[in-house]
């Protein structure tokens, strides 16, 4: 269920991207301030709806701990934070993976429009081509979500792990 939900969630953002790239980005050279302002207002509107309509659930009380770390002050808490975050090699590897993996996409997102312009492509043509790449992603979003639901990690019967057999 969660995979299909995220598939549809992704579909919404792809449709937003398609609208932006097909109809709006061609005006970005002359009206970028108004475009930024409009996007900010739409985001504010959506975020406020979430803030006012999302209700917290009922949670059990937080268990009492004998030693309250907050009593030691800022530096004591900072010490605990750094010890818990940066002394376990597994988490250091995980965050190195997430950071470098994220950095692999960042240059494309930041410079693809500049690259297109350096090749003599207009902003409008760039937007149209990006639109078609998003059409492909949109077609894949829901089927990929279904596959995640079918083969997700917690129900995974790994062919490479004999203990899962």
């Amino acid at each position: 269920m969660l995979g299909r939900f995220f598939g549809l969630f992704r579909a919404v953002s792809l449709i937003d991207g398609m609208i932006f790239n097909y109809w709006i980005i061609k005006h970005a050279d002359h009206y970028y301030d108004w475009i930024f302002l409009s996007i900010g207002l739409i985001f504010l509107f959506g975020f406020m709806i979430m803030c006012f309509m999302l209700k917290e659930g009922e949670y059990p009380p937080v268990p009492l701990v004998e030693e309250d770390l907050r009593r030691g002050g800022f530096f004591s808490m900072a010490k605990v934070y750094f010890r818990e975050c940066f002394t376990n090699s597994y988490y250091l590897w995980v965050f190195a993976l997430l950071t470098i993996g994220g950095a692999a996409f960042a240059p494309i997102n930041a410079f693809s429009l500049l690259y297109a312009k350096s090749l003599g492509m207009t902003t409008e043509a760039y937007g149209k081509w990006i639109f078609w790449t998003y059409v492909c992603s949109l077609a894949l979003a829901y089927p990929l979500g279904s596959l995640v639901d079918r083969f997700h990690a917690s129900a995974w019967d790994s062919p490479w792990d004999p203990s899962c057999r």
Binding site: A96, L97, I108, S154
Partner: protein
């Protein structure tokens, strides 16, 4: 520094992707040693 040579963008993205693939293999190996998908126990 690159004199607006934006083709290098894809080279650097590819390098980062290759490094992250290596990191993924390391993390996957450690993850499987901690129980894998069916018996994972988070490190203390």
């Amino acid at each position: 520094m690159t004199n607006s040579n934006y083709r290098l963008t894809y080279l650097f993205s590819g390098l980062f992707a290759a490094v992250s693939l290596g990191l993924l293999l390391v993390v996957y190996h450690k993850f499987m040693k901690m129980g894998g998908p069916n018996a994972y126990v988070a490190p203390e």
